[in-house]
């Protein structure tokens, strides 16, 4: 009996752990390994054989000296600093409105807002690219007719066109997380606030906002990680937007290094840097949000 209870957790965990080792631990370990390895191909096409050796930090140095890669990280920081707060503020406003007494048909609106989450980023980008490209887009046509020419795909605007696609996709999903937390606020709190004569804005500010904090922190962390991983949207949009180069985001950079340049060492170093940046930013965000409490 006792031995059965000692063995049981490991039997239950075994399938997950086996797959986890295979798809997380080993790949991460080998990425770190590759990032410290240099490969020399002998002869023009490597026909003379391939030798590899310990490279120290030279792949990291190469990754960090690559202006395109550094620029892509800066671009994602700018993207995150603008898009994440805009999206989260939009989520909170929509959640509060849907949970307020003034909203008609809240169920229908909630469902409509959630629809884009189910549409894959690639397909969402194809959809929006049709709405961005002059000639097909009824939106640019509308602006042209009003005498205000707009170009959604110019070097200065295309980042925000991507931000629009991301916001469109994830607002409804994050809003549902916030609504779930709003629903868990005990009714007595509202009751006593009303007794004190608090109006809807006062209730939102001093009861609802502080209590949805955990949900906001959660959605914030996932949005930060998501921003660093941005890939499908810029890659697909690049077919119509020449302003998006092969190093537009950190992930595109690593992808190009690996599959266009065939340099797995530098690509792995970039993947490790992306993962580390995700960790550092998530923990910084968590530390900042915890301290203010």
């Amino acid at each position: 009996m006792k031995t059965a209870q000692k063995r049981a957790p490991w039997i239950l965990l075994a399938p997950f752990l086996l797959l986890f080792v295979f798809t997380f631990v080993l790949p991460i370990a080998s990425a770190v390994g590759y990032s410290f390895t240099s490969v020399q191909r002998l002869g023009l096409f490597g026909e003379g054989g391939v030798t590899s050796g310990f490279a120290g930090f030279s792949n990291y140095a190469a990754a960090l000296e690559d202006g395109g890669f550094i620029a892509s990280i800066g671009r994602m920081l700018l993207f995150g600093v603008v898009q994440v707060p805009v999206m989260l503020i939009l989520c909170v406003i929509l959640a509060l409105l849907l949970e307020s007494a003034s909203a008609k048909w809240p169920g229908a609106f909630r469902a409509a807002y959630f629809v884009p989450y189910g549409i894959p980023g690639v397909i969402a980008t194809i959809l929006w690219s049709f709405l961005y490209v002059p000639g097909i887009s009824p939106i640019t046509g509308l602006f042209d007719a009003m005498g205000i020419p707009v170009d959604f795909l110019s070097p200065s605007t295309v980042l925000w066109s991507i931000a629009n696609i991301v916001t469109w996709t994830y607002t409804g999903y994050n809003m549902l997380i916030i609504i779930a937390q709003l629903k868990s606020i005990p009714g007595e709190l509202y009751e006593s606030a009303r007794m004190d004569g608090a109006g809807p804005f006062k209730v939102a500010w001093s009861i609802q906002l502080p209590l949805i904090r955990p949900a906001l922190v959660l959605t914030g962390v996932f949005s930060i990680i998501g921003t660093l991983q941005l890939f499908a949207e810029p890659q697909v949009l690049a077919t119509v937007a020449p302003a998006i180069d092969s190093q537009y985001t950190p992930n595109l950079s690593a992808f190009t290094q690996a599959f266009t340049n065939g340099d797995y060492g530098v690509a792995s170093a970039q993947a490790v840097i992306i993962a580390l940046a995700a960790f550092v930013l998530s923990f910084t965000f968590l530390a900042l949000t915890n301290r203010k409490r």
Partner: protein, 317 residues
């Protein structure tokens, strides 16, 4: 909702709710939410108006593709994108989508169903077993294992995809169904949710009484624990289903053979050929429409299941 909603309005109501109650109001009390607040008609119109405008934003691309899928490539450029052309070409477009290249679209769709269906079902089961084990058993290494998996939640999926490709290439399973299916079976976030949910909702005394009845540990998990954990399982399943269906980076890296493509890769393949051959516009818009319809229906039906376990668990954690 419960007793407190019958409380009369307080004298000190705020701005926006201060107009006197009419006779009609007394007969038909204004709509109230669980927080007991009341709303004036003016406020209702304003708020609902804002919600309608926002809904238009979220639905415009879907509306556009419904219109676009009825047009020829020529009309796509020549007519207003927000309204039908004179010539409705929907049946021809959809026929083209379904028959092009020996019906490859249907194959991509079936591939996506396979990856997402099998992947999310097994991933949920594995996450449930692991989460339950971490919540309900005391054993050496428990915190280490949990910490390791929690780290996995924060690692960007794309950071592991590249080395995984190199690993799978060495094993000879890159560019096979396995190369997309195997990574889809692991959901660290799912395990994290299952652990929190099992911790909060699976009663240890029920497990003990199962043991006294002589049930094996695995039988206790399969009969007693899984049933209690159902709300969390539904959430993990849906989360994983959408995640796999929407995945692009992993199959892009793993697959070279178009026969193995999921729908996301296939449609992108068509979309990238539009500048060479105009017929690909019709294929892309028609294909996007056909692939979006089931997703929209699924989201509308499933969003009510989304409230449960996911957020409760995540927020408590």
């Amino acid at each position: 909702m419960n007793a407190r909603t019958t409380v009369d309005p307080q004298p000190g109501r705020s701005a926006g709710e201060t107009e006197p109650a009419s006779a009609e109001d007394r007969q038909k009390p204004r709509r109230k939410t669980r927080n007991g607040a009341r709303s004036s008609p003016g406020m209702t119109i304003l708020v609902t108006g804002i919600l309608v405008v926002v809904a238009l934003y979220f639905l415009v691309p879907v509306y556009w593709v419904i219109i676009a899928a009825t047009k020829t490539s020529e009309d796509l450029f020549g007519t207003n994108g927000f309204w039908f052309a004179e010539n409705i070409n929907l049946i021809e477009n959809l026929t083209l989508v379904l028959t092009y290249d020996g019906g490859i679209f249907v194959r991509w769709f079936a591939n996506s169903l396979l990856y997402a269906g099998v992947g999310s079902l097994l991933a949920t089961y594995f996450a449930a077993a692991g989460g339950y084990a971490l919540a309900k058993y005391e054993f050496r290494g428990r915190n280490l294992v949990f910490g390791l998996i929690l780290g996995g939640v924060l690692v960007p999926a794309t950071a592991t995809a590249l080395p995984m490709f190199l690993l799978f290439s060495d094993l000879g399973i890159a560019n096979t169904y396995w190369s997309v299916l195997i990574p889809s079976l692991v959901s660290p976030f799912g395990l994290f949710l299952c652990r929190i949910f099992a911790d909060a909702s699976v009663d240890t005394s029920v497990l003990e009484s199962g043991r006294i009845d002589g049930a094996s540990e695995l039988k206790i998990f399969h009969t007693l624990a899984l049933r209690v954990m159902t709300p969390a399982l539904v959430t993990v399943f849906l989360f994983q289903l959408v995640g796999i269906w929407n995945n692009y980076f992993l199959p892009l890296i793993m697959l070279a053979d178009t026969d193995l493509y999921p729908i996301t890769l296939g449609l992108n393949n068509w979309n990238s050929q539009t500048d060479r051959l105009p017929e690909f516009y019709q294929l892309t818009t028609g294909g996007v429409l056909l692939s979006v319809i089931p997703l929209v229906i699924a989201m509308l039906v499933l969003q009510r299941f989304w409230r449960g376990g996911l957020t409760e668990g995540a927020v408590k954690g």
